[in-house]
C-alpha cells in the first residue's frame, strides 16, 4: 500500500466514511467521470476531424521541402519545363490541385494531378499503387483514369472500373476508377489522384500548374534562386499554412470553444462533488481534531481520498469519454464532410495528448477542488469544527468577501478579454476569469433569495423550504455555483450563435440587393460566364441596372485572400456597410482605382483606410490605396474589392464569374424567365434569385453550427447529471432530518413537497444568475473572441429564446434531482433513520 504518511486508523476512518456514504462517493465519482468524459470526448472528436485532414495533407506533401507558387495562384507550365530541362536541376514535381464535387453527393473532394515520372522522390506511394495494380502505360495513355484510397472508394461506393462523374466549375467529367489503394499510398478519404494531363483538363488550366514541389538543399536553393521570374515565389513547405485548404477557422474555433467550456463545466462538477463530501464531514474532522489528530494529517487524509476518487473517476471518465467521443466524432465528421471535405469517422484515435489532458483534469481538478476545503477543515480549531452552526456562520461571513472577489474577477475578465492585447487565447482567458468571478458571486444569491422569498405570504412547507436555503448555505452554495456555470455556458454559446446568425442574416440581406444572379452552373467556385452572356445579359429589356463580379484567390504574404474585381451598380453599392473610411464617400476613390478591404483583412494585416496595399499581379507587385474597410462575413481570410476596369488593366483577365441584374419592374420572376429563355438553350447557367442565395447561405450557416448545438446540449446534459448528483447528495444527507420531521408529524407528501420546493428554488436561482453570466459570456464570445479570431465586429444581439430555455432547464434539472430523495424520504419508515446514530 502506498505510504501516505497517515496513521492506519485515520485511513480507516476515511475509508469507512466513504463506504458508509456509498451514495455520496458514487455521486462524487459521477461528477468527476462526467467532467473527464466530456472533455475527452470533445477533444477526441475535434482532433479526429483535423487528423483526418492532416493525414491526407501530409501524404500529399510527401518529401517536398519547398514549393514554387504563383502570385496569382498559378505557376506557368513553361517555367516547370524550363527548369526540368535545365542541367543540374534538383528533384521537382508538377502538381495541380483543385476541388471537385462528385455528382449527386454533398461535400467536395481534392483532385490532385501528378506526373508519376516526377513523383519517385516525392510521393513514392502513388506510383507504387498504380504499378502494383495496373500498368503505368495504361495509366498514362488513358484520359479518364482515377486512383483513390479504399476509404474514399468506400465513401463514394465505387469499385474498380466503376465510372465516377465529377463536377468542376459547371462542367462534368466522366472518369473511371483505375486503381484503389488499400494501403497508405493514397491517403485520406478526400483524395482523387489523376494524371496531370487529366487534372489540367478538369481544372481548366491548359498552360499552368497549381505549384511545383521541390526537394532542395543549399546548393539546389542557390541553383534555383536566379531562375524564378517575379510572378512566382519559393516557399518553405513547412511555413505554408495548412489554413489555405484546411478547416474553416471559424469551425475550428467553435470546436475549441466548446471543448474549453466542457472543461470548465467538468472542473466545476468535480469541485462541487469534492467540496460537498468534505463540507459534509466537518463533524468527523472536528471529532478527529478533538482526539488529537494533527491538522496536516486531516488535510493529507482529504487529499489522499481525493487522489483515490480522482483516479477511479478518471478511469471511468476516460472509458466513458472514448465511447462518447466515437459518437461525437461521427457527428463532427458528418458536418465537416458536408461543409468542407471528406473525413472519415474511423480517423478517431485516442491520442496521448487528449488522454493526458483528461487525466490531468480528472486528477489535478479533483485535488485542486479538494485543496481549499481541506485547508479550511485542517485549520479550524477542533471545537468550532464540531459545530455545524459555526460552519454556516463562517460561510455566511465569507459570502460578501467571496462575492466581492467575484465582482473583481468579473471586471478583470472583461478587461482581459476586451483590452489586453493578444489573440484568441487571451480572449478565452478573460472568458474563464469572468466565469470564475460569476461562480464566486453565486452563493451570495442564496441568502438574498431567502430574504426575498421569506417575505412572500406563503406559509407551512414553503416557509420551511425557503429557510432551509439559508440554513444549508455551505452545501447549497457550491451546487448552485456549479449549476450556474453549466447553464451560463449554454446561454453564452446559444446567444452568441444567435447574435452571429442575425448579423450574418442582416449582412446578407443588405448585400443581396439585386433581383437575379447569373453565374455559370451552380455558382461553383471559379466557374466563369461565357462572353456572350456577359455582353448580352445587361441588355435584356427587363434590366434596369447590373453589377459584374470577377472573383479569384490571391496570395498576400502567407494569406490567401479573395480578390473581387467588380463593376457595381448603384443599388449594389448601397449594400456595403463601411466600418472605417477616410472620405465620407469611398466610391469616388473606388472608381479611381482605390480598393475596399473587408474587416477581417484589415484586422489581420492591421490596415487602415489610406494605407497602401500591395497586391501580386501577373506583372509583379502593384500598390493600391485602401479607400475604406467594410463589414464582411464572406471570408475569414479577407476580401479585397477592386474596380473591374483597373483589374482588367493590371491582370489582363476579361473573365467574369457572376452578373447581378436589377429588374426595371417589381417582377423579379419575369426577369428570371426572360434571362432563362434568352440563354438556357445555349449555355449551362444558373439563375438564382437573391432570396434563394440567402436561404442557401443561412442553411450553410446553420449546418456549421449544428455541431455547436450538439455540444451545447451535451454540456447541458453533463451539467444536468452533475446537478442531479449534487442536489441528490445534499438531500440524501438530510435523511435523518427528514425522519425527524416525519416523526414530528409531517406527512409523506409534505416532506416530498419540501424537498421539491427546495430543489426548484435552487434551480431557479442558478438559472436566474446564469442569465446575466451567460449574457456576459456571449458578449465576450461575440465581440472579443470573434474579433480577436477573425476581425469580425458584429452587434451583440440578445435573443429571449435561449434565456427562457435556460430558466426552464435549470428548474427542470433541479426538480428531477429532487425526485429520488423526495420519494425516498416519503417511502421509508423514519424510525430506522433516527436510530442510526
Amino acid at each position: 500500500m502506498i505510504d501516505l504518511g497517515l496513521p492506519r486508523l485515520l485511513l480507516r476512518a476515511g475509508l469507512t466514511y466513504q463506504l458508509r456514504h456509498r451514495w455520496q462517493a458514487l455521486l462524487a465519482l459521477i461528477g468527476i467521470a462526467m467532467g473527464v468524459a466530456v472533455v475527452l470526448a470533445v477533444d477526441l472528436a475535434n482532433h479526429a476531424a483535423k487528423a483526418s485532414f492532416a493525414l491526407s495533407s501530409a501524404q500529399l506533401r510527401g518529401a517536398a521541402t519547398h514549393r514554387v507558387i504563383g502570385n496569382t495562384g498559378e505557376v506557368p507550365q513553361a517555367l516547370y519545363v524550363q527548369l526540368a530541362t535545365a542541367p543540374g536541376h534538383p528533384p521537382m514535381a508538377p502538381v495541380i490541385v483543385t476541388r471537385v464535387r462528385v455528382e449527386d453527393r454533398p461535400g467536395r473532394l481534392r483532385l490532385i494531378g501528378l506526373d508519376l515520372f516526377a513523383e519517385g522522390t516525392f510521393r513514392s506511394g502513388l506510383p507504387n499503387v498504380i504499378r502494383g495494380q495496373r500498368s503505368l502505360g495504361e495509366w498514362l495513355s488513358r484520359a479518364d483514369a482515377v486512383a483513390l484510397s479504399s476509404a474514399a472508394a468506400t465513401a463514394l461506393k465505387v469499385d474498380l472500373e466503376d465510372r465516377l462523374s465529377l463536377r468542376h466549375r459547371g462542367k462534368s467529367h466522366d472518369l473511371q476508377v483505375f486503381a484503389i489503394d488499400s494501403d497508405t499510398g493514397i491517403g485520406g478519404r478526400d483524395l482523387l489522384v489523376v494524371d496531370i494531363a487529366t487534372a489540367q483538363v478538369i481544372a481548366g488550366m491548359p498552360d499552368s500548374l497549381s505549384y511545383i514541389d521541390l526537394v532542395l538543399d543549399d546548393d539546389a536553393l542557390a541553383w534555383l534562386r536566379g531562375r524564378l521570374p517575379a510572378s512566382v515565389r519559393l516557399v518553405d513547405v513547412d511555413t505554408q499554412t495548412e489554413g489555405v485548404v484546411g478547416l474553416s477557422a471559424a469551425f475550428e474555433l467553435n470546436l475549441t470553444a466548446m471543448s474549453l467550456l466542457a472543461l470548465l463545466v467538468g472542473v466545476f462538477l468535480i469541485f462541487n462533488a469534492m467540496s460537498f463530501s468534505i463540507v459534509q464531514r466537518r463533524n468527523l474532522f472536528g471529532r478527529l481534531r478533538a482526539m488529537g489528530v494533527r491538522s496536516q494529517e486531516i488535510s493529507r487524509l482529504i487529499l489522499a481520498e481525493a487522489v483515490v476518487l480522482g483516479i477511479i473517476g478518471t478511469v471511468i471518465g476516460s472509458v466513458l469519454g472514448v465511447w462518447l467521443g466515437e459518437g461525437l466524432t461521427r457527428i463532427v465528421a458528418a458536418t465537416v464532410s458536408e461543409l468542407y471535405y471528406e473525413v472519415s469517422a474511423e480517423a478517431m484515435q485516442v491520442g496521448w495528448l487528449s488522454l493526458a489532458k483528461a487525466v490531468t483534469l480528472g486528477l489535478a481538478g479533483t485535488i485542486a477542488a479538494s485543496w481549499l476545503p481541506a485547508r479550511q477543515a485542517a485549520r479550524t480549531p477542533p471545537l468550532t469544527t464540531l459545530s455545524r452552526a459555526a460552519l454556516e456562520r463562517s460561510t455566511r461571513r465569507q459570502l460578501p468577501r467571496l462575492a466581492g472577489g467575484g465582482v473583481l474577477l468579473v471586471m478583470l475578465g472583461l478587461a482581459v478579454a476586451f483590452v489586453l492585447p493578444g489573440g484568441v487565447v487571451t480572449g478565452f482567458a478573460g472568458l474563464f476569469i469572468l466565469l470564475l468571478g460569476a461562480a464566486l458571486i453565486t452563493p451570495l444569491g442564496l441568502p438574498l433569495l431567502h430574504w426575498l422569498l421569506i417575505r412572500l405570504p406563503l406559509g407551512g412547507v414553503w416557509r420551511m423550504a425557503t429557510r432551509d436555503l439559508d440554513r444549508h448555505l455551505s452545501r447549497l452554495g457550491t451546487a448552485a455555483a456549479a449549476l450556474m456555470v453549466a447553464l451560463s455556458a449554454s446561454v453564452g454559446v446559444a446567444v452568441m450563435v444567435e447574435s452571429m446568425r442575425t448579423s450574418v442574416s442582416d449582412w446578407l440581406q443588405d448585400l443581396l440587393t439585386a433581383d437575379l444572379y447569373v453565374a455559370a452552373d451552380a455558382f461553383e467556385d471559379g466557374a466563369t460566364l461565357p462572353d456572350a452572356v456577359v455582353r448580352e445579359a445587361p441588355l435584356l429589356a427587363q434590366v434596369s441596372a447590373y453589377s459584374v463580379y470577377r472573383d479569384r484567390r490571391l496570395q498576400i504574404g502567407d494569406r490567401r485572400v479573395r480578390l473581387v474585381a467588380t463593376r457595381l451598380a448603384e443599388p449594389s453599392r448601397r449594400g456595403f456597410d463601411f466600418v472605417a473610411r477616410t472620405d465620407p464617400d469611398p466610391w469616388t476613390a473606388f472608381d479611381a482605382g482605390e480598393v475596399l478591404i473587408s474587416e477581417p483583412l484589415a484586422h489581420r494585416l492591421r490596415l487602415r483606410p489610406g494605407d497602401p496595399l500591395v497586391l501580386p499581379t501577373p506583372r509583379g507587385d502593384a500598390q493600391f490605396t485602401i479607400a475604406a474597410v467594410f463589414r464582411d462575413f464572406a471570408s475569414e481570410h479577407g476580401r479585397v474589392f477592386l474596380n473591374l476596369a483597373h483589374y482588367r488593366r493590371q491582370w489582363s483577365d476579361m473573365q467574369v464569374n457572376t452578373i447581378a441584374l436589377f429588374s426595371s419592374t417589381d417582377d423579379a420572376d419575369a426577369l428570371q424567365k426572360a434571362a432563362s429563355a434568352r440563354f438556357s438553350a445555349d449555355y449551362e447557367l444558373s439563375f438564382t434569385a437573391a432570396r434563394e442565395i440567402y436561404r442557401e447561405s443561412m442553411a450553410v450557416f446553420d449546418r456549421t453550427f449544428r455541431i455547436t448545438e450538439v455540444l451545447r446540449l451535451l454540456s447541458v446534459a453533463v451539467a444536468f447529471v452533475g446537478i442531479l448528483s449534487a442536489l441528490m447528495a445534499v438531500q440524501l444527507e438530510r435523511r435523518k432530518e427528514f425522519a425527524v420531521l416525519r416523526a414530528l408529524g409531517m406527512t409523506r407528501s409534505q416532506v416530498s413537497l419540501l424537498i421539491m420546493i427546495e430543489s426548484a428554488v435552487l434551480g431557479l436561482l442558478a438559472a436566474l444568475l446564469a442569465v446575466p453570466a451567460g449574457l456576459a459570456m456571449a458578449w465576450v464570445l461575440t465581440d472579443a473572441i470573434q474579433f480577436r479570431a477573425f476581425g469580425w465586429t458584429m452587434p451583440f444581439l440578445i435573443n429571449a429564446t435561449p434565456l427562457g430555455w435556460t430558466l426552464l432547464l435549470g428548474v427542470a434539472a433541479a426538480l428531477l434531482a429532487g425526485l429520488y430523495p423526495a420519494w425516498q424520504a416519503s417511502r421509508h419508515d423514519p424510525a430506522p433513520q433516527l436510530r442510526e446514530d
Binding site: G120, G137, A143, Q200
Partner: protein
C-alpha cells in the same frame, strides 16, 4: 543493336529490379515491365522487310514503332592518359499506337528513358543514373529539324538537320558529360540484311539497325568538382522495332570493339534459357575502309574466362575469349574494372573493356539477362 528496350518489353526475363536505393540521381523509380510484359500492341508497325533508309530523317524518331534508341558508348582519355568510359542512351517507348487525346499538352503515348554512365577507370568507379519522362509539354521528345533528341536536360543534338557534328549533353548534380562527336572517315554500317536485323524466328521479330562504329570524340567530363578534357572514339547504335524476345530467349552478350589496327568488331550472342547461343547471334567486322564482313555464330567462338559477382550474388561473365579462326583473331576481352553494373529499373552490366591477345584495343560490353 542493344536489346535493352526489348528486354524491358519482356517481363518474365526480369526479376522486378528494385531501384538502387543509393542512387538518388534517379528522379523516379518506376518499372515498366508491367505494361510491357507481352508482345507490343499489334497497332505498332513491324520490321518485316528491308526498308529504304532516308537520312537525315531516319536519325529522328519513329513513333509508329514500339521502341527505339539512340545508344552511345565510348572510350576516352585525358591529356594525362587518365582513361574514362561513357554510355549515354535515350530510349523511346511507345505506350500505345496512335496519337493521344489533344485535350492537354501533357498527354502522350510516348515515353523516354535515359541511361547515363561514366566509368572512371583509374579509380575503378562507375557512376550511373537513370531518368524518365513522358514525351509531352517539351519535357522530352525528338525533332528532325533541328535534329534533336532530348530527355529533360539530357540531349543529343545534331547540326541543323545534319547528324554531325553531334553534341551529347547529360548529367546529374555530381557528374556530367558534354561531348562533340565528329563523323570521322568511317561510313555508316547497315546491320543484318540491308539494315533489317532479325532477332527471333517469328517474322517481325526484327529491328531496323545501323551503326557508326568509330566517331572521333572530344569534350568535357565532370566528376564531382573535377572537369576533365577528354578525347577518344565513340560508337553509336541506332535501332527501332516492335519486336520482343521470344519465349525461349534469355538475354545476350554484346561486344563493340575498336581495335588498334583500325578495324571495328561487333558481335552479339543471343542466349536461350539454357545459356546456349542461338542462331540469331550475329556480328560484323568493319575494315578501316568501311568494308563490312558479316559474322554468323559459326564464325565466332566465345569462351567465358571469368565472372564478377555483384554484392547480391548476380554473376556476370566479364572476362572473355573471342576467336574468329578464319581471320586469325584470338582476343581476350576483359572489363576495365569489374563493377560496371547498371542497377536501375532494368538491371544489366554495361562497361568499358580492354582488348588484348592477337589484337589490342578497347570497347564496350553489354551483358543482359543475368539478373533474375
Amino acid at each position: 543493336m542493344r536489346h535493352l528496350a526489348a528486354l524491358i518489353l519482356v517481363a518474365p526475363l526480369l526479376a522486378c529490379a528494385p531501384p538502387d536505393p543509393v542512387d538518388e540521381d534517379s528522379p523516379t523509380t518506376i518499372s515498366l515491365e508491367q505494361r510491357m510484359g507481352s508482345t507490343p500492341d499489334p497497332g505498332f508497325a513491324r520490321a518485316l522487310e528491308p526498308r529504304e533508309f532516308s537520312f537525315p530523317a531516319d536519325h529522328g524518331a519513329h513513333p509508329e514503332f514500339a521502341t527505339e534508341w539512340w545508344y552511345f558508348t565510348g572510350n576516352l582519355s585525358t591529356a594525362d592518359d587518365e582513361r574514362l568510359g561513357y554510355q549515354l542512351t535515350l530510349f523511346r517507348v511507345g505506350l500505345k499506337p496512335g496519337d493521344p487525346s489533344e485535350d492537354s499538352r501533357w498527354r502522350s503515348h510516348q515515353l523516354y528513358m535515359g541511361h547515363l554512365a561514366i566509368s572512371d577507370i583509374a579509380q575503378g568507379r562507375h557512376h550511373s543514373s537513370e531518368r524518365f519522362s513522358r514525351a509531352a509539354a517539351g519535357l522530352s521528345g525528338a525533332t528532325r529539324n533541328p535534329l534533336r533528341i532530348w530527355l529533360g536536360p539530357w540531349s543529343i543534338e545534331g547540326s541543323g538537320t545534319a547528324l554531325f557534328p553531334l553534341r551529347l549533353r547529360a548529367g546529374t548534380p555530381e557528374t556530367a558529360i558534354d561531348l562533340q562527336l565528329q563523323a570521322g572517315d568511317r561510313p555508316m554500317v547497315l546491320q543484318g540484311d540491308r539494315g533489317l536485323s532479325q532477332k527471333g524466328a517469328a517474322p517481325g521479330n526484327a529491328s531496323y539497325y545501323y551503326s557508326y562504329t568509330r566517331l572521333p570524340t572530344r569534350g568535357e567530363i565532370r566528376l564531382g568538382d573535377r572537369r576533365l578534357n577528354v578525347v577518344g572514339n565513340s560508337w553509336f547504335d541506332r535501332e527501332w522495332s516492335s519486336s520482343a524476345l521470344a519465349e525461349d530467349q534469355a538475354g545476350w552478350d554484346w561486344f563493340a570493339l575498336q581495335l588498334d589496327d583500325d578495324r571495328d568488331l561487333m558481335f552479339y550472342r543471343m542466349r536461350d534459357k539454357q545459356g546456349q547461343a542461338q542462331r540469331f547471334s550475329k556480328g560484323v567486322l568493319v575494315a578501316a575502309d568501311g568494308a563490312v564482313l558479316p559474322l554468323s555464330l559459326d564464325d565466332v567462338a566465345l569462351t567465358t574466362l571469368g565472372e564478377w559477382r555483384s554484392d547480391d550474388g548476380v554473376a556476370y561473365p566479364t572476362r572473355w575469349r573471342l576467336q574468329i579462326p578464319a581471320r586469325d583473331m584470338d582476343l581476350r576481352v576483359e572489363a576495365a574494372f569489374e563493377d560496371q553494373e547498371m542497377r536501375h529499373t532494368v538491371r544489366y552490366w554495361e562497361g568499358a573493356v580492354v582488348v588484348s591477345g592477337s589484337h589490342s584495343g578497347v570497347g564496350y560490353l553489354e551483358l543482359s539477362g543475368y539478373a533474375r
